[in-house]
Symmetry: C2
Subunit: 484 residues, 2 copies
């Protein structure tokens, strides 16, 4: 309490000592405007002095306008201490090390043109929240909360909520994956999974290989970790096998990062045979794979294409990073790493050192939601929705855009190439007409390809798609005619 | 789909080609036991062949026991491919870099004796979940969910949920902090806040200063970041000012980490005057402060002791890392960094590169809960509860334990010193009698002090406290008598 540092002496009047003490504390900045003072009764008790002295001191201070009393509320400091000009100032920019600087430089939210209200956006690939079944989510919350709300609100375990881990293991088994000797770590989405993996398995200047183009967030994280990134060429049906073999042979990367399903940004789904070839080549050169399971749930056909990790059987050379965030509830940030149990054991400690664990109440709700069958129904529903939007977008592109290449086997976006035009020029003109998309260069390791654009259609209506694609087409025609 | 890689030739019978294709895909591991096959109708459509050929192929495979059909469900692969012995095996231990290894080595959950069912635990300092007002939490969920559930379940912003940020700014203002030129980043608890700060502001071998002993998670994170840690001595009333000045003068650390309220593990609350002196010394040597606001809400006295950051006025040399996790809902992992807005801008990009953002639904619920006044009532209630437990624990220690020093001004734990005994020896004996506490050495930078133990009482009943402390006392007496 504010008076515990006051030693009453016998030379001076007690109320004066109290007044001076309060003034000093205000001057030191310890008592602020609005700070509540202890009651006169408390002060007299703590200091062992008569209450009248305290009352007198408070009255005098009140007369000076230094404190004020509100009936029923108490006594408060009424003045602000004078602010000194010698405040402690730090130039934080000089304090920021490379990692922070790189994260900022590579942050597309800050560097790319922002979506503004009223614009048609082909930039986002987030799910359309109007498809979420909110009633089911609420029911899941109420169910799990009534069962074990108190426990879920207290500390949990770094690895994750056990029933959710078991559910995901079963889910992986259904994909044809052997789960013996494997384990799961729940993460805050794919982003954290990838970041934790690179933090644990790599150091600056280590070589990592990946498809080029690839997921821009993955590029950001690899660059923030100062890895030496070796790009691998892509064909219309996914990674180029010669380029893959050549790269692994020449550079023996520490690890390779791959997106077999609905590859971002091309939308390509690798077929089963290619998956087997890719796996065999990585195995031959002993390069472990980080498989981005991104969007796998959207694969429309009835026969599921098994993930790479299913090909490894009892092997442990593939790490699978999964997330439902591109189709379901990204706001709750739940993803997972499925890998060798010895590796998960290390990653668990890293997760604990990072943020102890992912929200347990979220994991509990999510598990209840999945378990109830809601997820199955939801996926069935949105597969159809997104398939229709995909078909419509392709049709509209055919109609309006003089493209040179179109990639994408479905999913939530299409990758379009316009020869002879820098898509940033197209974007600049489209932006003036309230249409925004993702320029393709950010998906290339060194931004080296300028003629691509990613058209995301997950959150646009058919009307907006028609209107927006038409505008993009018009801009392209107009720029092309200028160039000639 | 599984048949898209099959090119029907004219030389062979069609149903044979289909049978062989499926067998090959199983052998390659692409089709797994339990994989669903597309319907005969789909296959005939995709391949442009007669449905009868597909039906015949499926019948033959079923006769061979390779696939099986369940009425109303579909056709599934019935056999597992033979697992080859040449699986791709990685020795993950050899792949783990220093960071992962350090996180694991320093993970006390793995290295310390675990609590087992039926034991009396003085190890935990988590809040007692039986104090949580679950009804209020549920109400907060239902309120915010009906208002904006769909938006909160989609992607949000890296900095955090705006209403929560505004609420915390106001909360900081009430602590006497000037918020102009300052901003807030919402994090997954204090742990993430501290980790993000060190990642952004330091590089390996940078010098950092802190109280010794200090929060063991902070020690872990500083060591995982390979920082050069300079310990500062503590007195009964907090950090030793001479040791502070000497350390800053001699080593000019890049940053200093301090816990002014209910310092972990000693439980000491720095008084106002000491806070001012600490601030002045750091300012004099231009060493920015990371202030751990940990547990500040528990301070029992009516007049709030202002945090260090309140002393800095318009200056920006103090970074405040706040969290309610030690008193409220740690399972949802919400904390914050309050600091200079330019610094927050960089940290926002780091947060985005780490895990995009903290769960938005959790932030929404938390905000509604705080705003409703539930938090105020809750804090009032638990202050009394924990104060009573603290008083009872102190009384019990006085009664049973022949201590040499006891530190702690309240809070959730007490730090006890037993001269001449290594508290790990005490722990080993207590453990046999089903009592566990935290050995004090883990709170010292180099585990150099062996005579301390931390007694956490947040989750123990008075009965358990009496029984557990009595056992600790008996063990100490017995060990002391053996030594003599």
């Amino acid at each position: 309490m504010i008076f515990s540092s006051l030693n009453i002496n016998k030379e001076e009047k007690i109320h004066i000592q109290i007044q001076n003490h309060i003034k000093k504390e205000i001057d030191k900045g310890i008592l602020k405007k609005g700070s509540k003072l202890p009651s006169t009764r408390e002060v007299s008790k703590v200091l062992g002095i008569s209450r009248n002295s305290v009352i007198l001191a408070y009255e005098n201070l009140e007369n000076e306008g230094i404190i004020e009393t509100f009936r029923g509320k108490g006594t408060f400091v009424a003045i602000e201490k004078e602010i000194k000009s010698d405040d402690f100032k730090v130039k934080w920019n000089n304090f920021t090390e490379d990692y922070g600087r790189l994260c900022e430089e590579l942050d597309v939210v800050k560097t790319e043109l922002p979506w503004k209200r009223g614009m048609i956006s082909f930039k986002s690939i987030a799910p359309d929240e109007s498809f979420f079944d909110l009633e089911e989510f609420k029911r899941a919350f109420l169910n799990v909360f009534s069962m074990e709300g108190d426990k879920l609100l207290n500390y949990g375990y770094a690895k994750g909520y056990k029933p959710l881990i078991e559910y995901i293991k079963e889910y992986m088994r259904k994909k044809g994956v052997l789960t013996d000797g494997k384990d799961i770590l729940i993460t805050n989405g794919f982003t954290e999974a990838f970041d934790i993996l690179l933090s644990t398995l790599t150091k600056p200047n280590d070589v990592i290989a990946c498809e080029n183009p690839t997921h821009n967030t993955a590029i950001k994280i690899m660059k923030a970790h100062k890895l030496n990134i070796k790009p691998i060429k892509m064909d219309d049906d996914g990674i180029n096998l010669d380029s893959l073999e050549e790269t692994l042979k020449k550079y023996t990367p520490k690890i390779i990062y791959l997106i077999p399903s609905y590859h971002n940004p091309t939308g390509i789904v690798m077929d089963g045979e290619k998956r087997q070839n890719v796996y065999n080549i990585c195995k031959k050169y002993k390069v472990p794979i980080i498989e981005d399971g991104f969007n796998e749930e959207l694969v429309y056909s009835s026969s599921h294409v098994a993930p790479l990790i299913a090909l490894s059987n009892m092997g442990n050379g593939v790490i699978y990073a999964g997330s439902f965030s591109k189709i379901l509830f990204p706001g709750i940030r739940i993803g997972w790493i499925f890998a060798d149990e010895k590796l998960i054991n290390v990653l668990e400690s890293v997760k604990r050192a990072r943020n102890i664990h992912t929200s347990f109440i979220d994991q509990g709700i999510f598990h209840k939601y999945m378990e109830s069958g809601s997820f199955k129904r939801y996926v069935k529903k949105i597969r159809k929705y997104y398939k229709d939007r995909y078909d419509f977008t392709i049709k509209t592109i055919e109609k309006y855009i003089p493209y040179d290449e179109v990639l994408g086997n479905g999913g939530l976006y299409i990758f379009v190439k316009i020869n002879g035009l820098n898509t940033r020029d197209i974007l600049r003109e489209c932006y003036k007409r309230n249409v925004v998309f993702m320029p393709g260069d950010i998906f290339f390791i060194n931004k080296e390809e300028k003629n691509w654009m990613r058209i995301g259609f997950s959150r646009t209506s058919e009307e907006e798609i028609e209107e927006g694609i038409k505008i993009i087409g018009e801009v392209i025609f107009s720029l092309k005619s200028k160039n000639n």
